[in-house]
């Protein structure tokens, strides 16, 4: 009769087919929920990240591996916190800060984020320049093209596809895993250093103070590039966008942990490969002033094409971060202050959003183009700025995630608070120590 029983498939037949459609879907769902954490962590392995890990390996051998292990534990917990806050509240980190702490505290948080992200964007344009110079293209040609290309991407709005391509290019850095093995490092030495904190002996001709100063600079940069402030905003926003609720939280938590682990595994092998290739104990540390020397660790894998391989990976990673970071900044700021945001909106509808995105790209591109600027040290300093500002963002996050009115039973456990508060204290102390060592009269 009209309106009912229009389909003529037997119940059993339909049931069998339904099972097929669901099973397929289950995999899609897993893939759909996976992602934010992995993307956030792997975008952390950007130009600045590569430069920092390569410097750590070349200057201090394996002696920073134990720190990386601890940083990875903290990274996993912090990413999980951001994911949990997104899943429980359904709101971005900016919104929560604004609603919980008011306007002035929000302005402060956003100012810190902005400074850190300008530095990161700058580092990534420096990465574009370094990659271009490996191919023999001058930076004043490569950077304007890259900047305009990235800007156009947002105007056009087909961002997701390009994002995936760039992520693919950045996978080139998996070559470091092979390079680490082919360099035949002393694995017992590597493992010992990964677990037992070791203090690297100062090389000949380097004073203790200078040595400590350099070490702190690289250590803070390693923390700052692995756990970046922008990543937490980006991650929480993605979790909210994907509609993850505390009910389907299992996948998202797995994603947060898994992302932290895979990203830092790559960092680990970068340090091992560069340490095995470039570090000679007791001798003057390798200067590592340009990308070519960082690329030379890849020689065991790619031979004379090492520079090319490194250049492609660096370009992909730099472009990815140079587009994601300004975008994440614009989203976070607009969310905090209630301005309209979104890809595919024009200047009249979303002036602050597009303005910020444009400003970050212009500042990053223009500064990176200054002739004679040493690119690798620049990338390192940018990561230091991220490291120094990290505690500020972590304190906001900790206070929010421990707020029972907001999180209910999903507040942090004791272990979490101990580790993350510990991170805040450690980074602050390291920063203070760095300032003191540079101010102290010789």
């Amino acid at each position: 009769m009209p309106g009912t029983g229009k389909l003529h498939v037997s119940e059993a037949e339909a049931d069998a087919l339904v099972t097929i459609r669901f099973n397929k879907r289950r995999w899609l769902m897993l893939l759909g929920t996976l992602g934010p954490g992995i993307l956030a962590s792997s975008a952390g392995n950007d130009a600045g990240g590569i430069a920092t890990y390569a410097t750590a390996g070349a200057r201090y051998g394996y002696t920073m591996l134990w720190a990386l292990l601890l940083i990875t534990v903290a990274l996993a917990m912090i990413q999980e916190m951001a994911t949990r806050m997104g899943a429980v509240t359904g709101k971005g980190l900016s919104s929560l800060i604004r609603e919980r702490f008011g306007l002035r505290a929000t302005v402060f948080a956003m100012a810190c984020l902005l400074v850190a992200n300008v530095a990161t964007t700058l580092a990534d344009f420096a990465g574009v320049a370094a990659a271009a110079e490996l191919f023999g293209v001058p930076r004043w040609v490569a950077i304007p093209i890259a900047a305009m290309g990235l800007w156009w991407l947002v105007a056009r709005g087909n961002f997701a596809r390009v994002e995936r391509t760039l992520m693919g290019l950045a996978l080139v850095f998996l070559a470091y895993v092979a390079a680490a093995f082919m360099a035949r490092p002393d694995w017992s030495e590597v493992l010992r250093n990964a677990v037992v904190p070791t203090w690297p002996a100062p090389p000949h001709g380097v004073g203790n103070r200078e040595h400590l100063q350099g070490y702190l600079l690289v250590l803070i940069a390693t923390i700052g590039t692995t756990i970046t402030p922008w990543m937490q905003f980006f991650l929480q926003a993605s979790v909210v966008d994907k509609g993850v609720t505390i009910r389907q939280y299992g996948f998202a938590r797995f994603d947060a942990f898994f992302g932290a682990l895979t990203a830092d595994l790559v960092s680990f092998f970068i340090i091992v490969a560069t340490a095995a290739a470039l570090f000679y104990p007791g001798l003057q540390p390798h200067a590592l002033s340009d990308a070519a020397s960082a690329a030379s660790a890849l020689v065991p894998v790619a031979g004379r094409h090492a520079g090319l391989l490194f250049g492609v990976g660096l370009l992909g990673a730099s472009l990815l971060a140079a587009s994601v970071v300004p975008l994440a900044t614009a989203y976070a700021v607009c969310e905090a202050f209630g301005f309209e945001a979104g890809l595919g909106k024009d200047f009249r509808r979303a002036p602050v959003f597009l303005g910020l995105y444009t400003l970050l790209i212009i500042v990053g591109a223009v500064v990176a183009m200054l002739p004679g600027l040493p690119l690798l040290p620049l990338m390192l300093v940018a990561q230091d700025i991220n490291g120094i500002l990290l505690p500020v963002i972590l304190v906001y996050m900790l206070r929010l995630v421990n707020d029972r009115r907001l999180m209910g039973v999903h507040v942090n456990g004791v272990g979490y608070n101990a580790v993350v508060w510990g991170m805040v204290v450690v980074v602050s102390v390291l920063t203070l120590a760095m300032v003191l060592t540079s101010l102290w009269p010789a």
Binding site: N23, M29, R98, L103, K242
Partner: protein, 406 residues
């Protein structure tokens, strides 16, 4: 114009002139369209003091004079704090139909009462609170471009935060419910989980089903997660069967099966049948909510049925006539049926040709046929000619529409 931010942090004095505290907040009650300020909240060192409006002697931009300062007393159940509860919270701007954030509140005098008349959602409110208003004014003069005022009348915003919404939840849900489902879906997408469930709780099942049909798959599953099983099943019943099937296929299998068991048996079986088709086939795209009539009927009988049982079906451009075995025998434009005499047999109105599509064909082929033959909907038939469902042009267009947000 007066704004709350201009009052906050000013000194409050007694009639004698002594300073008694700093103004931190004001309380308000809803009374008519615009809420009225019912008292001042002062800070005396670390203590809070409440001054009822009756004890307020004079208020100007830089002086607050009060008669007496009471110890902090609990607020009346109808009273709310303006700065704490409303400032920095999210509200729905009913005019633009989107979610905005309150940067400042506009006040106005009505006789001796101070009323909340508007909400500042623009950059001026931000600048004023940060003490940067002169800087912003200078910048706009220099640039020759003035950012929008961003003032919205109080009665044109709807609170959605927990603290503010309790003041008038009834009103707010009624007004929000009158928005177009597509706008409401966009608003709901921007809210946090708690605010979202607050708004959704106040809507009836049919209204919620409308919103679900407009929402992205991510939002759909998030909304469904916030509902209890029974309500979720009720909402699924209200949705068009093809939309409900698409939504269920996004869920984990055990949850989807659990929901289907709770659904009304007839609706559930329709949805289950649609779920049998794999993604990307015509079957997964079609709906079963359309006008199907026996071929033996007359135009008058068919119209009578349309007015009754058929009134709520989704696709209503054509009537599909079937024989006793359920095989499609003719497609009738609704317009032709309306214009025909009541006693005309439907069979005499059948066109010479019918365009159909198979359920297992790729979904794209349905879209191609719809365009090629300029149709609003396309019947889906089995090999033996039995009618399974219909693909509407709007559903088919979703195949080529790429969402702009990543």
């Amino acid at each position: 114009m007066i704004f709350l931010s201009q009052y906050l942090n000013r000194a409050v004095r007694t009639v004698a002139g002594g300073k008694v505290g700093i103004l931190r907040d004001v309380t308000f009650v809803t009374e008519g369209v615009f809420p009225v300020v019912s008292g001042l909240v002062l800070a005396q060192g670390r203590r809070r003091r409440l001054v009822p409006w009756a004890d307020v002697v004079r208020v100007t931009l830089d002086t607050f004079v009060v008669r007496d300062v009471a110890a902090w007393d609990d607020l009346a159940p109808t009273e709310r704090l303006l700065a704490l509860d409303v400032m920095d919270s999210q509200v729905v701007d009913m005019d633009g139909a989107h979610v905005v954030r309150v940067n400042d509140l506009q006040l106005a005098w009505q006789g001796t009462r101070l009323r909340v008349v508007g909400v500042d959602i623009g950059p001026w409110g931000l600048a004023r609170r940060l003490g940067l208003a002169p800087a912003l004014a200078w910048m706009t003069r220099t640039l020759g471009w003035r950012p929008p005022e961003g003032l919205v009348r109080w009665d044109m915003v709807e609170p959605v935060e927990k603290q503010t919404a309790t003041v008038r939840l009834r009103v707010s849900s009624d007004r929000l419910a009158r928005l177009h489902p597509a706008d409401l879906a966009e608003i709901v997408a921007e809210l946090g989980h708690e605010q979202r469930s607050q708004v959704l709780e106040a809507l009836d099942d049919a209204r919620l089903a409308d919103i679900m049909e407009e929402a992205s798959p991510e939002l759909q599953s998030a909304i469904l997660d916030g509902l209890d099983e029974e309500r979720a099943a009720d909402v699924l019943e209200e949705m068009e069967p093809d939309e409900a099937a698409d939504l269920l296929s996004e869920l984990p299998e055990d949850r989807a099966r659990g929901l289907m068991e709770r659904m009304d048996a007839e609706d559930a079986s329709e949805v289950r049948d649609l779920l049998a088709y794999e993604d990307g086939t015509v079957g997964a795209l079609m709906t079963t909510s359309f006008w199907e009539v026996p071929e033996t009927w007359t135009a008058g009988r068919a119209l009578e049925w349309v007015r009754g049982d058929g009134a709520t079906d989704e696709l209503c451009s054509y009537l599909y006539a079937v024989d006793a075995a359920g095989r499609l025998s003719g497609v009738l434009s609704f317009r032709h049926v309306v214009r025909a005499e009541a006693e005309t047999p439907l069979a005499s109105l059948f066109p010479a040709q019918m365009v159909t599509v198979g359920a297992y064909e790729p979904a794209m082929s349905a879209l191609e046929k719809l365009f090629h033959y300029n149709l609003l909907s396309l019947p889906v038939v089995q090999d033996d000619g039995r009618l399974l469902g219909v693909v509407g042009v709007l559903d088919a267009l979703s195949l080529v529409h790429e969402p702009e947000e990543p």
